[in-house]
Symmetry: C2
């Protein structure tokens, strides 16, 4: 098999020594191809992305069937007030095909096949015998009003043609898609699997949240946050750990991981990113860049030798959380096969005024209140009721070049699915 030559490396444009958010996102999405499709039972497919169009194995409905509980009749005989002899009883699921002679009818339940001799259904409500259903049908039924031709018959094929597409490739599968696929005649489908993700928090200052932190120690929160964000993104967390600032320990941990992506945060024992950078820089295709964003400037990304995508995020909790949303989540959705890898953004109104750095995109955790986005204040200790980091449900994204945002300005927000059920 001939290979096309690798595209020559196009250097990202740099401004003030930084690459743009868009350039970094494009480099990442360029490396995040959908995981190879697997064939799985329909019952396991909720929340996954369909890998190929699903076509109907048959026309729908499969056969002429009744839209009502009633009587299948020969319309010409079923004039106003006609008294018909009931010669058959057709529950849903019946395979019977009774002949109907002149003046004859069959009791029929919703969904049951309509006999070929019938050309209309009279609903129970339009008979003198009424709507009560007993286990045996009455011997006769009296029609109150003659039905229109074809009344209350769902015709075979009227909903969908055989081989037509029921659900298209790229669809994120919810309940309504899955039942449509079942009705189309498929119990197994091809989907992109859930990405397997490892989460590593680095930093010798990190201690478990239930420890008693000494001076300088910090209760570790990034692995909890990132693992939940991974799951919210529809991926599986296969590994989560804290690793101290020790190159050998980090190297061993990385070697033990089997995953589609590994997310590291921190490692800032001396200078940003020290241990993580020392271990990962140049490993496989990993590269470290200054990205023009605040927070989140120091970023490492690239595939390891086995193809695992490695993301090296800053250790500050807000910077790590913001970096996940900007750079990691879209990659995880792309691995999962989603054609819409990025969250939709919308416009909101700034709920207060703030400064933004001139040369960088600014990303602020915020709380949405209708169309108003309130940035979370840095220090909320003294004002109960003000937005807090815990309540963050959106990010405000201010483009580079803007230095002042005024209350009432239109701003771009990314609503987060932080409360998504799982």
């Amino acid at each position: 098999m001939s290979r096309s030559p690798a595209p020559s490396a196009v250097p990202s444009s740099r401004t003030h020594g930084m690459i743009s958010v868009e350039d970094h996102q494009e480099r990442i999405l360029g490396a995040a191809a959908p995981l190879p499709a697997v064939r799985i039972p329909l019952h396991d497919a909720f929340g996954l992305v369909l890998a190929e169009d699903v076509r109907r194995r048959w026309a729908l409905p499969l056969f002429d069937n009744s839209a009502m509980d009633g009587y299948a009749v020969r319309r010409a005989d079923a004039v106003d007030g006609a008294r018909l002899r009931v010669v058959a009883d057709l529950p849903a699921g019946s395979s019977d095909e009774p002949a109907l002679g002149p003046g004859e009818a069959a009791r029929i339940m919703t969904g049951a096949p309509v006999p070929a001799d019938a050309d209309a259904v009279v609903p129970l409500e339009e008979t003198e015998e009424g709507t009560a259903v007993s286990s045996t049908p009455p011997s006769h039924v009296t029609v109150q009003r003659q039905p229109r031709p074809g009344a209350h018959i769902r015709r075979a094929g009227e909903d969908a043609a055989v081989d037509s597409v029921a659900v298209t490739a790229g669809t994120l599968l919810g309940p309504w898609h899955l039942s449509a696929i079942a009705s189309a005649g498929h119990a197994h489908i091809a989907v992109h699997p859930r990405p397997r993700v490892a989460v590593i928090s680095t930093g010798s200052e990190l201690v478990s949240p239930d420890a008693e932190p000494l001076r300088g120690q910090i209760p570790e929160s990034n692995s909890v946050h990132l693992a939940a964000a991974v799951r919210e993104a529809g991926a599986d967390v296969v590994f989560a750990a804290i690793v101290p600032d020790d190159e050998a320990a980090l190297r061993r941990t990385l070697e033990s991981i089997e995953a589609d992506a590994v997310i590291l945060s921190g490692g800032a024992s001396v200078g940003s990113f020290d241990v993580v950078k020392a271990v990962l820089n140049g490993m496989g295709g990993v590269r470290f860049d200054a990205v023009a964003v605040r927070p989140g400037k120091p970023q490492g990304f690239g595939p390891l030798d086995d193809g695992t995508l490695a993301f090296c995020l800053p250790g500050n909790p807000v910077a790590a959380a913001v970096s996940f949303e900007l750079f990691v989540r879209p990659a995880l959705r792309a691995l999962a096969g989603s054609p819409q890898a990025r969250r939709p953004h919308r416009t909101a109104v700034a709920g207060s005024a703030w400064h933004s750095p001139r040369h960088r995109v600014q990303v602020l955790p915020a709380v949405l209140d209708g169309d108003t986005a309130h940035p979370v204040p840095r220090h909320a200790a003294s004002a109960p009721g003000t937005p807090t980091l815990a309540g963050t449900d959106a990010l405000i994204v201010v483009p580079a070049g803007v230095e002042e945002v005024h209350g009432g300005d239109a701003v771009t927000v990314l609503p987060l699915g932080g409360g998504a059920l799982r």
Copy 2:
């Protein structure tokens, strides 16, 4: 312990022999108390509802710390152009508390504790030595500009007070809540567990989607739909099966199930609900009612003897799906401890005109396009590009009393989280 007398049974008001949607919903929600709280590791709590307020075990930040990479200084000495001797190096996580004499400074990284002798931090960018960080600090540093008092120092406790509430009971836990709880010093929390749900499709006419259906047979789709909807609602499917129209088989199946809720659909072999009604009516507190809604009029609900909530839905796929949204999902969210058990609704514009039954609420599967809700046409075979059931992402709810909806009318819609990631 004295017991208050059981409230006398208040008969629901009936109109045209039917109880209202609201009365049926209230009867259900009255029986769906939050499941007893369990204590679990924070790492397992994503998507669950917090059962008690989480308070901070300490003030945040824990100690005065640096907001920048730079130098901790005695501000009085750090005048414009001052050359200070660097006597210590403080990485993040350092527990050192170096003394600083006159003319002395300590290199300090973001997050590291600020020595008591320092009263400001000079960022790397504001020194002549610049922003490069080597493993050993320079012997001296030259300050370009005198910092303001307290510059770049985050003071202990300025973010949050000890024992203040970090996250309140009733919160659906997303990534930002979980990291806030970790920072508040908790590695285990009390949550309401995921409801365990069994799904049973009844009907002898139902066959597996990969079978070749004979006349009268239907590929089974309700169990697939309902199981996915259960998961979308944040609950676990512990059992899913098809049971034929056989009372003994259904009884055996019900006895084998251990779950918080069981959802049955169909059973319409002769007349609606026959087998399911025969087995479940009067079992525990189960009662069957005609509810004033189309589709979905025949509904059974009540607790079984062991407390499992039983929901008996019609077998028609759209009726079962609509019934789940109206009656089952709110109950599952209530079992899960959510104070907002119902989906939020909003107003949209009708994308076409249609009729609605006078005495019942009408619920139509729809596709939302911005603010316009397009009801899914009954028969979509011939019009590619028209909304299909598979693409349903909202329900239109038309109140009883309305008989005509015109294109452009305001209508109430429930957007569905059908595509929610899991």
